[in-house]
């Protein structure tokens, strides 16, 4: 699998791809970017396919990920939402300043849109955290026969 010919080639493609990206961004050779991107994508896909088609095996890394999935999920949700909440809240805070420059109506409309989006983003965060916690609850084996009579 990963130690085989295809695995090594795929991993090498990713490494070469990253090198090309560095060349593009640090060396100013922007033409290299697309090749770097292509190699990284193709290498990543090939690695995924190789592992995916292989016999499932024990992976302590994944088991650990599973064990931490609630905390990781909540952390990821917070990181995802905080900057956009700050941006949208900033639109609310900035309204008085913006309203002065003759585009008051548009600014109010913008604030309103920002407010709606803020509510949506915060609401999504709350719902997602609840959902993540709920999904992690242990399964209580039940009686399938009684499922229709609940």
């Amino acid at each position: 699998m990963l130690t085989g010919r295809y695995g090594i080639t795929s991993a090498a493609a990713v490494v070469v791809g990253i090198a090309l990206i560095l060349l593009s961004e640090l060396g100013g050779v922007h033409a290299a970017r697309v090749f770097g991107t292509a190699l990284i994508s193709a290498g990543g896909i090939a690695l995924g396919v190789l592992v995916g088609l292989d016999q499932p095996r024990r992976s302590t890394g994944l088991a650990r990920l599973r064990a931490w999935r609630v905390s990781l999920g909540i952390l990821a949700a917070a990181i995802t939402v905080v900057p956009v909440v700050v941006a949208l809240a900033a639109a609310l805070v900035a309204l008085p300043g913006a309203a002065d420059d003759g585009r008051g109506g548009t600014a109010v409309l913008g604030t309103l849109i920002a407010l709606l989006m803020l509510v949506a983003a915060v609401g999504c965060f709350v719902l997602a955290v609840r959902a993540i916690r709920r999904a992690a609850r242990p399964v209580t084996p039940g009686d399938p026969a009684s499922a229709g009579e609940e």
């Binding site: 690695l47 983003a121 965060f125 959902a131 039940g142």
Partner: protein, 711 residues
């Protein structure tokens, strides 16, 4: 000044380095998840679904874009909601690709920029529109799942997380655009009609703040995208891939035809007793479910409170497959993928009864409502019948009541305890003789059509009245027809759907041999189950005939003026409602002929039931259920009778002997014998015929039909 914008505005070299280098991670996760699924499907038995691949793919593309089976009149709100999410998401994805083509290919390699001018303005407009659609669609979906909560929707954590992801990603996109425009003050900013007002509101902030917040949002936006992409293959969001694959590889055989077990005598596996006994395409089938719950809407078992819920059956199988394939854990035996479901988890369960229970399997009426509704062509009935086959043929486990059916079929060629020589007993009720094929052939004559009477039509007293009525119509129209009489046998339909493939094949083989002996070309039958079996399943074993249902023939005869109806007929007066038999309508697409036949009687006012045509509700008698006790939930036939009575009709028109039996029982069950009647279409027409002048005709009045009608 040409309208355009700086791509990667406010982002230094570290941004693209991280963006492109980390791109490998979501690709690894996505490809791993998809490959793991392919690996899981390949555990199944081989099945050729690769014929006409081009047209299969084309159909799937068209279905995906047009949302053909998703946006339906009866599911308009849900369908449009999904369409909004789909169009929004796909447009934004294409938009991202366009930006990448400009920034990474055309400009650096060829020095060509197309991301400017009118194209750029149109792009901005389209992206804002797409973002709005996506947010509104996802919000509507959240509202449905968290506030409205229809009974057919079962919401898991995953459903919410996916919708939250979509909303937050779109909001991030708008915020990023607004923050950039607040600094750059693009004169064409108004084209971004959502971000622009926000940009104006934000413009009151110092530039340094705006740049700082923009930078943080940019990094988080791309990371959110990557996390989302990585999550796709392990969540419900995989459905665009699996559903598309399922539409590509859907079964092309007639829907009414169940696949036979080939070489039954030598087959090592009889039915589906373990996951690997399903074909790969069936495993793909269960993996394609997008949890929409539409299969529940018209499912008679779900709506009458029985354990079988087609969606849950599919999802349990999918969860079990994921458990056994180690899709989440990467570790066989360590998954808890079906944690979203009630009944426990883990790969060490036995398929039957621990993943799917016998109660679920036996409750199915094979009505096909689930398959008709499923937007992604999941076929529940073959899954269920496959498992029934295993119960019957391998384990000898089936409802007790069915034992007699099997014995009778084996000994007498029908589910009933009547000898074959009584099959033609009903003909004595006619004034004119009905010839049998053996006599016709002996005389060296030919007939236009063979009347396949069916077991219920032959032996069941109530259904004999339909048979007599149809024979009278045929005689009145001067059609040269014959019956098989004692040579007729069951088509094998009930045995096949109960899971006794051995008996089913034996019956079908016998029937085809008889029909072929007489070189039969055209068959008419009043039984949609026989109709379906002869039309769709007999060709599997060399029986190819033109098969018409009696409703179609009656309609044709009326249209050709070969039978005349009395517009003042006492029988055909008042309000009538028509029940679409599953095996005529959903399985064979015939909805109009019976209605057209009823419409020929001007005294009848047709009142449609709430659930009609392709969304009809089963009578409860299919799939062998006619022969089984209904011990769980409430009674399906009574639910349908009540629905029929709710139309205000006094007469229920049936077109199937199974339905007839179920409705007679249902009417009795709801205590409506005095006010509500069920008659077969043939009885209504025969009872309203003007005595024919044709020499072939006799007394056109069915002796049994008229007195039964409660006026």
């Amino acid at each position: 000044m040409t309208p355009t914008r700086e791509i990667l505005w406010n982002i230094n070299a570290l941004g693209p380095i991280l963006l492109y280098s980390l791109m490998a991670i979501p690709f690894v996760f996505l490809a791993f998840g998809l490959a793991r699924r392919v690996r899981m499907w390949r555990q199944g038995q081989p099945e050729d679904r690769f014929d006409r691949l081009g047209s299969r793919i084309w159909h799937a593309v068209v279905m995906s874009i047009l949302h053909g089976r998703i946006v339906r009149r009866r599911n308009l709100a849900g369908g449009l909601m999904h369409l909004a999410i789909f169009v929004g998401f796909v447009t934004l994805f294409i938009g991202t690709v366009i930006v990448m083509i400009e920034a990474d290919i055309t400009v650096p390699l060829f020095g060509v920029s197309f991301y400017r001018g009118d194209f750029f303005l149109g792009y901005k407009l389209a992206m804002n529109l797409a973002g709005v659609l996506l947010i509104l669609g996802a919000l509507a979906a959240l509202y449905r799942r968290t506030v409205r909560r229809p009974a057919t929707l079962d919401t898991a954590g995953d459903d919410i997380v996916i919708l939250a992801f979509l909303i937050v990603l779109s909001v991030q996109g708008f915020a990023l655009q607004a923050l950039r425009m607040a600094v750059t003050e693009d004169p064409w900013g108004r084209w971004s009609f959502v971000s622009y007002p926000m940009a104006v509101a934000l413009s009151g902030l110092p530039e340094g703040w705006l740049r700082g917040i923009h930078l943080a949002n940019w990094y988080v936006h791309f990371l959110t995208n990557f996390v989302f992409l990585s999550y796709v293959a392990y969540s419900k969001m995989i459905h665009p891939f699996t559903s598309f694959a399922n539409v590509v590889f859907r079964r092309h055989q007639p829907r009414g035809a169940l696949e036979p077990i080939e070489n039954l005598e030598e087959a090592k596996v009889l039915g589906v007793g373990k996951l690997e006994d399903f074909t790969w395409a069936q495993l793909l089938n269960v993996d394609a479910c997008m949890h929409c719950g539409r299969c529940l809407e018209y499912c008679p078992t779900f709506t009458t409170g029985k354990p079988l819920r087609p969606r849950d059956l599919v999802l349990e199988l999918a969860g079990y497959m994921a458990d056994r394939g180690g899709i989440f854990s990467g570790e066989l035996g360590q998954g808890e993928n079906s944690a979203r479901y009630r009944w426990g988890a883990g790969p060490d369960r036995e398929l039957i009864p621990e993943v799917v229970t016998p109660a679920e399997l036996w409750d199915c009426t094979t009505c096909g409502a689930c398959m008709e509704q499923c937007p992604v062509y999941i076929e529940h009935v073959p899954l269920i019948v496959g498992m029934r086959r295993n119960l019957v043929l391998e384990r000898g486990e089936f409802p007790e009541e069915v034992t007699a059916v099997f014995t009778n079929l084996e000994r007498l060629g029908s589910p009933y305890q009547f000898p074959p020589n009584q099959r033609a007993a009903w003909t004595k009720k006619l004034d004119q003789p009905v010839p049998e094929m053996a006599e016709v052939a002996a005389r060296g004559e030919e007939v236009e059509v063979l009347f396949w009477v069916g077991c219920l039509g032959s032996f069941d007293a109530r259904n004999q009245r339909t048979t007599v009525a149809l024979a009278r119509i045929l005689q009145a129209a001067g059609i040269r027809f014959a019956i098989l009489g004692k040579e007729e046998c069951c088509t094998g339909d009930p045995a096949r759907r109960i899971g006794n493939e051995y008996l089913a094949q034996m019956m079908a083989q016998q029937a085809v041999e008889t029909l072929n002996t007489y070189n039969v070309k055209k068959v008419v039958t009043a039984c949609p189950h026989c109709f379906n079996a002869i039309k769709n399943e007999f060709p599997q074993i060399g029986g190819n005939y033109e098969v018409i249902h009696h409703s179609q023939l009656i309609h044709q005869l009326l249209a050709e003026g070969r039978i005349q109806l009395d517009p003042d007929s006492a029988l055909a007066r008042g309000k009538v409602t028509y029940h679409d038999p599953c095996y005529l309508g959903r399985y064979n697409g015939e909805y109009d002929a019976p209605r057209a036949a009823l419409a020929a009687l001007p005294g009848l006012e047709l009142r449609e039931m709430r659930r009609n045509r392709h969304a009809s509700f089963c009578c409860g008698g299919g799939g062998g259920r006619l022969f089984m006790e209904e011990t769980r939930g409430t009674r399906i036939n009574q639910a349908r009778v009540r629905e029929a009575m709710d139309t205000g009709a006094e007469l229920l028109a049936a077109a199937c002997p199974f339905c007839m039996t179920m409705f007679e029982d249902g009417i009795h069950g709801v205590g409506a014998e005095e006010s509500f009647t069920v008659l077969d279409l043939a009885e209504i027409v025969a009872g309203s015929m003007i005595a024919p002048t044709s020499p072939a005709g006799g007394d056109a009045r069915p002796e049994a039909a008229t007195p039964d009608r409660q006026e």
